[in-house]
Symmetry: C2
Subunit: 409 residues, 2 copies
Amino acid sequence: MSNDCRVDNRSDVAQELARVAERDDEVRAWVSRHKDNDIIEAVDAATDGLLSGWTLGVKDVINTFDLPTERGSPIYRGNQPLDDAACVALAREAGAVVTGKTVSTEFALFTPNITRNPHDSARTPGGSSSGSAAAVADGQVRSALGTQTVGSVIRPAAFCGVVGFKPTRQLLPMAGVATLSHSFDSVGWFTRDVADCTTMFRALSTATASQESLHGRIGRYLSHQWAAAAPETVKVMDSSCSALNDAGVEVVDVETQPHLESVFDAADTILHYEIFRVFAWERTNHPDLISDLVQRMFLKAESIDLDQYLSAQAVLRLAQQAHEQFMAASGLDGLLTPSAPGEAPSIETTGDSIFNRVWTSLGVPTIHLPVTLGPSGLPVGVQLVGQSLCDQRLLAAAAVVEDSFGIAT
Amino acid sequence: MSNDCRVDNRSDVAQELARVAERDDEVRAWVSRHKDNDIIEAVDAATDGLLSGWTLGVKDVINTFDLPTERGSPIYRGNQPLDDAACVALAREAGAVVTGKTVSTEFALFTPNITRNPHDSARTPGGSSSGSAAAVADGQVRSALGTQTVGSVIRPAAFCGVVGFKPTRQLLPMAGVATLSHSFDSVGWFTRDVADCTTMFRALSTATASQESLHGRIGRYLSHQWAAAAPETVKVMDSSCSALNDAGVEVVDVETQPHLESVFDAADTILHYEIFRVFAWERTNHPDLISDLVQRMFLKAESIDLDQYLSAQAVLRLAQQAHEQFMAASGLDGLLTPSAPGEAPSIETTGDSIFNRVWTSLGVPTIHLPVTLGPSGLPVGVQLVGQSLCDQRLLAAAAVVEDSFGIAT
């Protein structure tokens, strides 16, 4: 690695640290951070690798040996794991420098935490990877790890206006990442552009750079949830498709797939059944330290029995197979679909994951691409959904889509 | 719960504690244990539930808030998690009393640890759930949790002569259980009979008792690995089928399935790729504390790239679908197949998982049933393999098979 690159890294890092100093009181993206001098020294001493000298925020549900992992819950205050989560260790092995832990909602669920949207502090950054999305969007760190069980990467990426990526389920190890719903949990990350996102994927999967031969065709998929799309979402879907056409990419309208409608309710059943069991220790030992919102979720969850769960799993498995067959036969590089209903709502909620649930449940890779600003000046963008195990193909398609937006604006 | 039941529990527990006192120096099943008086008090005070007052050993790769989790590795010496793994918390919620942590091989891999086979201390108890199988087999505890990634429940159950069960993959939460290979890891358990095994399943899945209507047909499946079967395994497969016939259960010979041959190598590729990444922190921070056997495994693993992994995953997924279709159409209650090549080998290894890899990789539930003793006086038995998500059906079939052995002997 050349000295020039180290100098670039140091200059970028100085800017990021200045940004944190200036903005942390307002954005509140961090639970804990290393000292500035330690970060600068670590960047200077970074090992060679794809992420050499990259600063990295780590969502506070992902274990780090050098900073506590509190999971957005007072139950885990001061909890210091002995080791790094596998994804963190892999990032460090590739040269990344962990600068701190980013704010998560309680247990990566829906209760808003302290982080604010960097574009408007009266708005949510989205959840549950709130701090990771906000920190990258605000220029406080180059990249940040998050997790997604329903929409916890794509939604905050959309609300904060950064690239957010969730790989194929279980392609990357979840060791050391707090479980929420094991059928759906995935690690993911936030970056400023698709190039950085792709480099992160290569680092964590230790994939070599690939030359994907794309079809040059994208499917426009409005989904069964289209009625929830706000005007800015309708508009950004239209403008994105126009930009793609202008860039020579064919956009094909894809009808809503019947097998995907059934997934929506099945996923909710599976999520609730699993959460009730995953949190057995917290439920039985610290009920007083669990928020009302999560307690209500447990109450609903308790009524779901094994037979309902198994039926939902059977529905999901059939839908996964049907979707794989559909995508393989479609000749499409990806499905373009909304990331979120609209701009970020106010801080009372973390926003709606209605446009994320089906894709996460299918286990397919998905990426959010920021496009423009909405009527309130907050970011809006689109989601591009790929095929299971074809993450590099999706990232290659995302680069094309990102380029087309550059052409159009 | 009646007082009589408590008295029974107390008397059983006194016997178990006496057994530990007498035999622990030889069997060495425990890494750490609660004090006898504390166990007795906890049993007396056990909450009502399906497992009320049951003593439970917990494999030392499964987190417990009250005892360290050392994962069979000096890297994790004294490692004290803040919380219980979900499966432990669920068992405690159902009334189980954790008596201690049982010996695991290093990282639940293949390096033998200190535990000896309770039937012959020159023989292995099997791995990696060595202590859990040995403790139940030796009457030191009523039940014990283990984990299986290749054959780490079924194999030690076979070598020690107890019932061992691995449910459908991801049916039970892995939260708080150390990851080895996320595509294959599952929690499982050891009990003395199928009735206890079934109660444990109901407790951990909170399933109601079900009336499964069985076909009364079992498939005899010798598998592509049949050449590895020792004479005692050939014999126990024959005698088991005769016993089933005598009990009025139809035994059908099932030809080796082509889609299952490909799984064997694909599973090895997936396992190695995942292990190399899962252990990124241990590899990069404590290479000196990792055994030569595991270091050699990492060396092999490092050479497997993402494309090889993705190809193997594609092979596995097709095989899983083909197997589901085959089983659903077969009208069989389960496949009867070897659990292990033969009696437990000597303590230099933990034995061969050759008869376990395919089933674990498919994610289907599987159970070991002890049948008789082999030529060296060590236990031999059979494996009954079920259909994904149909765990209660497999357990019902296992009860029938277990009964048939009672009739025949």
